[in-house]
Structures are given as C-alpha cells and as structure tokens.
C-alpha cells in the first residue's frame, strides 16, 4: 500500500517543490522533475509487481457515503506502468525540447501533476475515483495544451475543455445510473452490473462510451485531438498519444469488462453497433491522416485510428481480443511516442513542420529518420516490432469471436499506415541534403536529451517484438483476471 501512495505522492511532492523554487533555477528544477518521475516509476513498478504476484493492495477512504478507493488490478497496473515508464522518457525528452522555451516552470508543474492524476486514473478502485481523476486529468492537461498562449492554442484549449467536460458530464450521468441500478461502484472480481439485463442497458453503455469515447478519440468525438497538436511536442507525444487518450480507452475497456461484464456486453446490441463505429474510426482515421500535410496532425489522425484497435480488442469479448488490446496498448505507446519525438526533433532542429517541405531532411538527420522509419514499420504492425503481437492477437480474437472481417480491417489498416508514412520517409532520404539551418553537427546536452529517449524506446520496441515474453506475463495476468 505504501508503494501505491508513494507513487502518486512523488509526483505531487515534485509539483510542490517546483512551485517553491525561487527564481529560474533550471538545473534544480530539472533534477526535481527527474527525481519525481523516477520515484513515481519505481513505486508504481513496485505496486505493479505486487499486483502481478497476486497481492491485493488498496486504499480506501470513506467520507460518509462517498467512497474514494484506489485498488490496482492487472489492467489498471498495465496502464499505470505504461504511463509512469513513458513519463520518464518524456521527462528526459522535455529537458531537451523545452530547453529554450518559456514558461518552463508552468510546464513542469502540470507535467508532474498530470502524471499523478494519470496514475490515479489507472489505479482507481471504483467508478467514482475513476471519474474524479478522469475529470481532473482534463484540467491538469489543459494548461499544457494552451502552453504557447497563442490564439490558436487558446482556441484548441477551449475545444479540448469543452469536449472533455461534455464527455465527463455524460459519464457522471452514467455513473449515477449505475449506482442506481447496482448500488455498488467498486471494481471487484465480478462485473458491477452482474445479473442485470434489459434493453435499457444499451443506453447506459452508450453513455459510458460517449463519456470515455471523447478522450479515446472515437469518431466523431475526436475533433479535439488534431487541434491539441498545437501543444509542445512532448505534451502531444505523451498526453495526446498515450496518457490522456489511453485513459479514455482504458475507461472503455474497464466499462466493458468490470462494469458490464463479458456476457452482458455480449448480449447488448450496442456492442455490435459500436463495432461498426470502431471500424469506421480505424479506417477513416488513417485515410484522413494520409491527406494531412502537417506532420503532427498526420500523427494525430494515426493515433485516432490506432486507439480504436484497443477498443476493437475489448469489444471482441474474447480472451485473445483482450490480450491483443493490452499488447497493443503496451507496444503502440512506445512507438507512437518515438514517432512524435522524431517529429519534435525535426521541428526543433530544422524548424519545419510540413511534410511537403521535408524532402531530404533524412540526409541531415539520418538517425532521427531511421527511428521514424522503424516506428512506421511498427505502425504497419510487422515483425520484428512489438506492435505485431498486438495485431496478431487482435486478429485471433476477431476470428475467435466470429468477427473475422475485423481481421481484414486490421490488415487494410496496416497497409494504409504504410501508405501514410512510407513515401514521406523515402522522400526524406532522397534528394538534396536538406541540412538543418545552423546545425554544425556538434552534439550538445540538448541533442542527446532529444535523441536518446526515442532511441531507447525503439530498441525496447524491437526487443519486445523479438521477445514478447517480456510483457507476456502482464497480458496473461489481465486476461486471467477477466476470463
């Protein structure tokens, strides 16, 4: 239990310390950030390993009839570990990226706060806690979206808040209804709505899906995500490709398995209808991505497409499908962050953000583009990258669930992912050497901080691809928990 609290507190303590630092002491602040994130990582891993070992840890605070509880189970732990691990990498990357930017204090405060809140979402033990932290996440990440304070950023921030809060409002209604129906909101061994049935539950599921689906960028609730790309790249990478959007996807998986349960969800006709929405999101997301010229927006639409892989796995309602969803969560995050980091390196070192102007940058930034190419191969989902395993199990789940066309959809999506980025990579390596302005090839602290996180993540991704046993126990634990 102590690990659990400490995991959340380290980030908060970090926040407090940074707020208290007088003046603009960059080294001290960066060290505090690094330490906080590292401690959060250590403690969440301790928590995670305890949970995987079968121990049940939790923290429950009852204020009258209001029960606030943190109780990590394998699914939550997977999400929490992904978040805390990648937060460390993003932290290091931020040291490089934000080095010459303004308002770093504000950035790091909310960076750490968002970590704490994300862990809260991951480790939440009942719907109320989940909802609280989920709402809080919108607020904690809003200042990061509007960081630049430009008119475009403010507009995106407004959109972000409006979408998030509307979704959360619907979520609150859904939670109230669930409490009314079942009286209990805790994530336990069995689903909350066990034993209930009836067509009205379709509407309940719809409300939940709408509520979480905003953050999970299900079309047509996805519009906030491409606009949110105006945020600094580490924010786009971590939050809007991993943490925030995963909280939405995690929420939906949680709802399907812990609130409704497999059997009930299978009976509801909404599950079948929603599969069509998922398929639409997967395909339309990547097709729209192909038409984007702005690199980060293209990545954003690809994110929208890939998030629905997780939802697809959840809604196949088979153990393979869930395994694929969890695998995809783990593997996709590493590579998507890498892609965003590379986009950030490109925009920082060359000043370019439009693909049409990026011909030949691979000559000046070969390492970055090689990482980008590896990431793209991962998005297509081929060995030896780890995303293959996610797709493989998703396809197995689809076939096992009797929904074999979904396997074809995944294949088509893979091909479209290739169409989306392979020409860009090839153009980047061809043509004249597009030397980044002013770059003399010297490598400073900044370049290392920018380059090493994606490099390590890519190596990790390839290792996970060749040795999926590294993450297999986690996947197994989640599947065993629910099946």
């Amino acid at each position: 239990m102590t690990s659990l609290i400490l995991a959340l507190m380290s980030a908060l303590v970090g926040v407090l310390l940074i707020v208290l630092i007088p003046g603009e002491n960059k080294k001290l602040r960066n060290s505090i950030v690094f330490l906080s994130v590292l401690l959060a990582l250590v403690f969440s891993w301790r928590t995670g390993l305890l949970v995987f070992a079968g121990k049940s840890i939790g923290l429950k605070v009852e204020l009258g009839r209001f029960v606030w509880s943190l109780r990590p189970d394998p699914l939550g732990v997977v999400f929490g570990l992904i978040a805390s691990t990648l937060w460390l990498f993003t932290g290091v990357y931020s040291f490089g990226y934000m080095d010459n930017k303004e308002k770093q204090g504000s950035y790091y405060v909310f960076f750490l706060l968002a970590l704490c809140v994300t862990l809260g979402v991951a480790f939440a033990g009942n719907l109320v806690t989940l909802y609280l932290f989920y709402e809080f996440l919108s607020f904690a990440t809003y200042p990061l979206v509007i960081h630049e304070r430009s008119p475009e950023a403010m507009k995106s921030g407004k959109k972000y808040i409006l979408y998030s809060l509307s979704g959360a409002g619907l979520l609150l209604v859904a939670i109230v209804l669930t409490h009314h129906l079942a009286g209990n909101l805790a994530f336990g061994a069995g689903p909350i709505l066990e034993g209930l049935s009836g067509p009205g539950l379709n509407w309940l599921l719809l409300l939940f899906v709408l509520g979480f689906g905003v953050k999970a960028a299900v079309m047509p609730l996805h519009h906030w995500l491409p606009s949110a790309m105006v945020a600094p790249t580490p924010v786009s990478a971590l939050l809007h490709a991993v943490a925030v959007v995963y909280s939405g996807a995690y929420g939906i998986v949680r709802v399907v398995y812990s609130v409704f349960g497999r059997e009930l969800a299978g009976e509801l006709v909404f599950s079948k209808i929603f599969l069509y929405v998922i398929v639409f999101t997967i395909l339309a997301g990547i097709i729209v991505a192909i038409r984007q010229d702005h690199l980060k927006r293209r990545l954003a639409y690809q994110t929208i497409s890939h998030l629905s892989y997780i939802l697809l796995g959840a809604f196949t309602l088979t153990p393979w499908g869930l395994a694929g969803a969890v695998f995809h969560m783990i593997s996709y995050s590493t590579l998507k962050i890498t892609l965003f980091f590379c986009a950030g390196i490109i925009s920082e070192l060359t000043g370019k953000s439009s693909i049409s102007k990026m011909k030949g940058i691979g000559r000046g930034l070969p390492g970055t583009m090689v990482l980008f190419a590896t990431g793209t191969l991962g998005m297509i989902g081929i060995l030896p990258l780890n995303t293959f395993w996610g797709k493989y199990y998703l396809m197995k789940g689809s076939v096992a669930g009797g929904m074999w066309p979904l396997a074809l959809v995944l294949i088509i999506s893979g091909i479209l992912n290739g169409v989306c980025f392979i020409p860009f990579i090839i153009k980047a390596f061809s043509g004249e050497k597009n030397q980044p302005a002013g770059k003399t090839g010297k490598r400073g602290y900044r370049e290392y901080a920018l380059f090493i996180p994606p490099l390590v993540l890519t190596i990790a991704a390839i290792s996970m691809g060749l040795l999926p046993g590294m993450v297999w126990p986690a996947v197994q634990a989640v599947v065993d928990w629910f099946f």
Binding site: G200, L383, W404, I422
Partner: protein, 597 residues
C-alpha cells in the same frame, strides 16, 4: 521467472527439403560474393550493398530453416526490409519507383501471411510446425481460408501472376548481382512457402478435406505465369527486364508442377519433383544470366539489347559462359534445365492422360512456352553477342578506348564459371540430384516417388526429340520476330496488368475527388443549416435578456423577464407531471429484484 520468449518460441530445423534450399542459397551467395567486388566498383556504394546482402542472406536462411510459422514470418519480414535496399541501390527515379512496388507488395504479402497464420490458428488448436506433415484441421473452412491467404502471401513473393507486378521493376532496377539473387533466391522463398503449403494441405489427399481447389488455382496461375512471362519477355528490349519476365515464366513452371501434385495427389509426385529440381536449376541459370548481363554492363554500361552487339569478339569468355547459361534455361540436353523440364513435361503428360481436354491444352501450352523461351533467349544472345553492333554507336565505341576489353578476367567470370560448372554437372548426371536429393525431399513431404519413377529415364528418344524440335522452332521464331520487327510491338494499355492498374487508379482518383467534393458540399450545407438554426435560437434567447416587469396585484416585480419566467414555469410543471406519472422512468423491471444494495 517466466521464459522471455512468451508466445514466440523461435525454432529451427532441417530436413531433406530445406537442405536443398540452403545449399542453393549458400552456393549462390558465394558466387555473388566473388562477383560483386568487381561489379560494385561500377555501381558504387558497395558497403551498403554488402551489408544488405549479408542481412538478406541471414533472413533467407532463417526463412528456410524456420521450424514454426512465426519464426518464418519474422525472417520473411527481415528479408523484405534488407532486400529493399538492394532494389533502391541506384537511388535514381526508376529505382525508387521499383522500390515502392517492391516494398508495398512484399509488406502486403507479409500481411497476408499473418492472416494465414491467424486462420490456421483458428483451424487447429496449436499452430502446426513446419515440416510436420499434413494438418488435420478442426475447422475446415478456416483451414481452407488460411491456405488461400498463404497462397496469396507466398504467391506475391514467388511472382505468381497476377501478383507479379513488382517483379519486372524490382529485378531490373537492382544492381546485377542483387538481381541475380532476387531472381535466383528470393522468389524461391515464395516457392518454398508454396511447397510447405502443399505439405500442410497433405497434397490434397487428406480424407474429408477438399483441397483440390488449391491444385486448380496453382495450375491456372502457373500456366498464366508461364505464358505471360514469356510473351512479355519477347517484347522487351532491356536485357534485365527480359530476364525478370523470364523469372515470372520459369516460376510458372514451378508453380505448375506444384499444382499438378496438389491436384493429383500421390500420382502427381513427378510435378513436385520437377518443381523442386527446377527451383535449383532456375536459381543457377537465372543467376548466371543476370551475372553475365552484369558483366556486359560493367564493360559497356549498357543493358539495352538493341544498343549492344557483336560482343563475342571482345568478350569471348563471357560469351561462352552466357551461352551455357542460355542452353541451361532453354532446356538443352546436357545441362540442368533439360532434366527439370523433362520431369515437368512427364508430369504434364501424365496429367493430360488423366484429366480432360483442358489438360491436353495445358500440355500444348507447356511446349509453346518452351518454344517462346528459346526464341526469347536466342534473341537475347544474338542481339547481345552475335549481331552487328548498331552502326553509329559501334564506330564511336571502337574509337573510344576507354571501354575495357576482357583481357583482365576477374571474380565476375569466376563466379559464372562456378555456376556453369554446377549446371553442367547437374545436367550430365541428373540422376544424382533426382534420386539423392529430390526424392528424399518428396518423401519427407509425404509423397512417395517409387511408382512414378519406375522405369523413368531422362534420356528417352521422345524427350530428346521433343526438346530439339522445341529448340529449333524457338530459333526460327526468334529470327522471324527479329526480321519482322514483331518484338517491338507495344501492347495497348488495357491489355497489360499494369496498364489496367493505372487506368483503374485514374478512375479511382477521379471518383475519390468527386466523392470528396460532395462530402465538402454536404459539410458546408450542414454547417450552414446549423449556423442558421443557431442564429435563430440565439436571437430567440436574446429576447429573454431584455428586462421587463411583472405586475401582480399591488406588487411590482421589476427586472425580470416575463418570457423566461414563463419558460421556467412550463418546465417545472412538466417535470412534476412526469415524475408523478412515471416513477419507474427507466423502464427496467429490475428495481423489484434489487435488495438493499
């Protein structure tokens, strides 16, 4: 501690079948390594090329030696990535375009393999290990589909028509040693996959599993590949493209042989034997041919046949070596091509005895393709080495002393000598390979060759007569074609697959453009309607902001808006009525079941 590999247990094995393949791979790569030192001096960037070559070698060996399907898939993908760098080696526009074709087709092939594996997993409890014999599926439909997906995936790699579109571009854009390996080895990976596919399918003999359709598909695509490849090759003027189309055609032979054994089952074992033998033979002579063309490229920087000629004088050694390679591919007795083509011809004859009229046609087409092959290679050899050089260029070139003459023989010729010697040995002693290597391979795969090969001899009179007639006819066709200029015919766009693809793509782009326009139009319409509605709503609501006053009796309320008050009253009445009349507004009958939760 859990095993690090989890669901993925890499495994390797060797049996009589992949033994043949890896010996072939090793031999070819060795030859190319002798060759590429001198060659890459002309192309440049040899370090990248060598790295790509070695990585591809690893990947190819991995595919051949893989024990389970996921291992094979891993090395298949690695092979795609590393061989891509061969194709784009020259970095010019044509190479990059060829690279796109190659990369996308290969990735799509890999994705189809994944589909095949997934459906195979649905058909059987545990994924079958490669080389473990026929599969008895629990779910026949899933198994059939998995076979189809594997067929498509491996067929793309093997250059099976109509999935061959990438092949001519990729094999002609790559440097010659790479083309030799691409044509010699990498497409054989596809053939290897198809052979293993046949093994999984039990060669169509499994009781209760109807897999004859696989045999039919392979027969059809095999003969189509043979025909299309040869016809397209006859029309080519670039030597490397010609050879690339011949790869399609010769792979058609192999696919046809596999189709025969899948279709006939145990009786069709000759087809399997012929296919395996032809895999080896084609690797040898196709590599030799590409290497030969590459030698000429090194000396003359030219691969266009109509710009070359009369080279036997300057490069006699290369000319002789190329002659042997040409003899090999056309099936002249004494070289290896004769052996495998004879086996395949026997298989096709057997099929035409057993099958219907269509099988007789198949046999005729088989011979026709043989004639076409001879014609095409006569054209190649004649134009390259024998014919008079194109006059204007010829004189200039003789004057220009920079062109190398063949006094300095290098590793290039050594490599070709190695291949030619192998071809000659295999040609003079075909029984060795057949009985010592192909038959054990067939037996491992589940087909016994004893009855089919009883009384079989390579050197029967009818076979020899047949091949000499084919060769003679081929040479005649060649001269007729050259004299009449028929080889310059350009097929109309709609007749070629690529042209069809371009046309379709054009139509699709138009359609897509129009669809997008409509979508934008609809969006604008919706947005405008929405804005209008919102505008009117806002205007209506604005009225509430005007302060007014309400007088009731003696008191006067000021600052309130009468409209708003009215709205609130109505809402309140509705809400009260609603709650009073429908206490169970959720319409779920479960409230009765809940007990004090």
């Amino acid at each position: 501690m859990w095993p690090l590999t989890g669901p993925f247990v890499p495994g390797f094995f060797i049996d009589s079948l992949n033994l043949i393949f890896i010996i072939m791979a090793a031999l070819l790569w060795f030859a190319v390594s002798l060759y590429s030192y001198r060659y890459m001096k002309v192309e440049g960037r040899s370090r990248g090329f060598n790295i790509a070559s070695l990585l591809t070698l690893v990947a190819v060996m991995g595919v051949f030696l893989a024990r389970n399907l996921l291992t094979m898939l891993l090395f298949f993908e690695l092979m795609t990535i590393s061989s891509y760098f061969w194709v784009i080696h020259r970095r010019d526009k044509e190479a990059i375009r060829a690279g796109y074709f190659y990369l996308f087709f290969s990735i799509i092939g890999g994705l189809f393999l994944v589909l095949g594996i997934v459906f195979m997993g649905a058909a059987t409890d545990v994924l079958p290990a490669i080389g473990s014999g026929a599969v008895t599926p629990l779910n026949a439909r899933a198994f059939n589909w998995s076979m189809v997906f594997f067929l498509i995936g491996f067929g793309i790699k093997a250059g099976m028509v109509p999935l061959h579109l990438w092949l001519p571009h990729a094999h002609s854009a790559a440097p010659a040693p790479a083309s030799g390996l691409l044509s010699g080895l990498l497409i054989k990976v596809g053939a290897y996959g198809l052979i293993r596919l046949g093994e999984f399918a039990g060669w169509g003999m499994e009781a209760g599993v109807n897999l004859k359709f696989l045999g039919v598909i392979l027969l059809i695509t095999g003969i189509l590949s043979m025909l299309l490849g040869v016809v397209a090759a006859l029309l080519q003027s670039d030597a490397k493209r010609l050879l690339a189309y011949h790869s399609v055609s010769q792979m058609g032979y192999i696919i046809l042989g596999l189709g025969i054994s899948l279709y006939l089952g145990a009786e069709g074992v000759l087809g399997l034997l012929g296919a395996i033998y032809h895999v080896l033979n084609h690797a040898l002579f196709k590599a030799a041919l590409f290497l030969g063309v590459g030698i000429i490229y090194v000396y003359r920087k030219e691969t266009d046949l109509y710009k070359l000629g009369g080279l036997w004088r300057q490069y006699p050694v290369t000319a002789i070596l190329m002659f042997f390679a040409v003899l090999g591919i056309t099936g002249a007795p004494g070289l290896n091509g004769y052996a495998s083509k004879t086996l395949l011809h026997h298989a096709v004859s057997f099929l035409s005895d057993k099958g219907g009229l269509w099988a007789v046609w198949l046999e005729w087409l088989f011979s026709l393709v043989g004639v076409g092959t001879t014609a095409s290679f006569s054209k190649l050899y004649y134009l390259m080495f024998l014919a008079k050089p194109a006059e204007e260029d010829g004189i200039e070139r003789l004057v220009n002393k920079k062109f190398v003459t063949e006094r300095k023989l290098s590793g290039m010729q050594a490599a070709m000598v190695l291949l030619v010697i192998s071809m000659v040995l295999l040609g003079l002693f075909p029984q060795f390979f057949l009985y010592k290597m192909a038959v054990p391979a067939a037996e491992t795969l589940g087909l016994s060759a004893e009855t089919a090969l009883a009384g079989f001899s390579f050197w029967t009179f009818s076979d020899l007569a047949g091949i000499f007639i084919t060769l003679a006819l081929g040479v005649l066709v060649c001269f007729a074609g050259l004299k009449s200029g028929a080889f310059h015919w350009q097929p109309p766009q709609w007749l070629t697959l690529e042209g069809l693809g371009n046309l379709a793509f054009g139509e699709l782009s138009l359609f897509w453009g129009e669809a997008l326009e409509f979508y934008h139009f609809a969006c604008r319409g919706i947005a405008d309607t929405g804005k209008n509605l919102a505008g009117s709503l806002v205007r209506a609501l604005r009225r509430f902001e005007e302060p007014g006053s309400l007088t009731a009796g003696k008191s006067t309320f000021t600052g309130i808006s009468a409209d708003l008050f009215l709205v609130f009253m109505v809402l309140a009445i509705l809400l009260i009525l609603f709650t009073l009349t429908r206490p169970e507004f959720l319409d779920l009958s479960i409230l009765a079941n809940l007990s004090g939760n």
